[in-house]
Symmetry: C2
Subunit: 193 residues, 2 copies
Amino acid sequence: MAKKVKTNKRQVILEEAAKLFKAKGFGGTSMRDLGSQVGMEAASMYNHISSKDDILESICFHVSNTYISQLNEIEQLPVSYVDKLKALIRLHIRLMIEDGAAVSVANNDWKYLSEVKLQQFKEARKTYEKGFAALIEQGITAGEFQPMNVSVALFTILSAVRWVELWYRPGRGITAEELEENIMTILLNGLAK
Amino acid sequence: MAKKVKTNKRQVILEEAAKLFKAKGFGGTSMRDLGSQVGMEAASMYNHISSKDDILESICFHVSNTYISQLNEIEQLPVSYVDKLKALIRLHIRLMIEDGAAVSVANNDWKYLSEVKLQQFKEARKTYEKGFAALIEQGITAGEFQPMNVSVALFTILSAVRWVELWYRPGRGITAEELEENIMTILLNGLAK
DNA sequence: GCCACATAAACAAACGTTTGTTAGTCATCT
DNA sequence: AGATGACTAACAAACGTTTGTTTATGTGGC
């Protein structure tokens, strides 16, 4: 039996859409824009996707699923809470670098999801945040972290990692590893001497 | 002589627009949406504003002007670099709390500014970031901060403060002061014990 | 002959904005 | 005091575009 050589057009559409949504926003990107980027007429894309919303959903849930499954793996590692936190921060930076466009869309354009999917997405995010927060809380209890408001810590970390999407480019004179090292130093040890 | 009782309708439009843009994005907010929020027909608003872009520009540049002028004041305070940085972080959190909608628009919807204004805005932002970075750099030179990549520190701080716009609500069980204290502790001293 | 995929053409809906008009307010002149 | 004219601010209706999507048709490979 021959291998399927099909270049998945749907995947191409999703990838180009992520780039355009990141650059111009969901509302700012028309199906005709997207079509010309993909290399076909807007109408033709409807052979591969069912709607513009369908595209947004696929991107957003692909990202949220990735985060959640990775969190589950990290939770079960037999290491200190400091190391778990480091792994999580690294995960965020890696995903931002490897799949920046999609992550950006999931970060910024999720609010344009349709009613039903919007609720699902918010729930997924809450699940992830709860798991992340629990990890911080346990780290504090174990005496590895300073006592502090867990929500504040959680969101500070999540946000501190976001700018990478806007800033990082391979030719910036800093490698992904250096970037991770720098950010983790600030978050774990602070700026002050 | 009687007092001028004029409620500045333009200001009302700008404020309601900021709220709607924050909630639904610039592209996702129609002039009819905005009109019904303000309490007049879309067409009537054109007696007070010259275009939808005009609204976006006013909001964005109001915010960027505020940041830049405040930075200038802080730069000239006769205090340590640690204290200057603290003042800047406090400034960001305060503006986020007091004028969250406008700040949110300037953070997220600036990219929809028209060609010319977009360039101006980017320049203003770069000016601000340069001043902020210089302050960090001097702090490192003075031995008050750990040696580190200045850009990484800058953007980590700027981002770490952004989530407040999404999260903070007066009834969260945490005051603005506690919030500032917590965030500054993480950024300056880190999470680790 | 059929299936997968591409297209052009058309669709209704929604968009930002312009137009023409009206009602009210105020200072000025008689 | 009353008339005049300029100004402000509101409105309904319509404009030309652009939007996401559908329909009908065509085409190349199995």
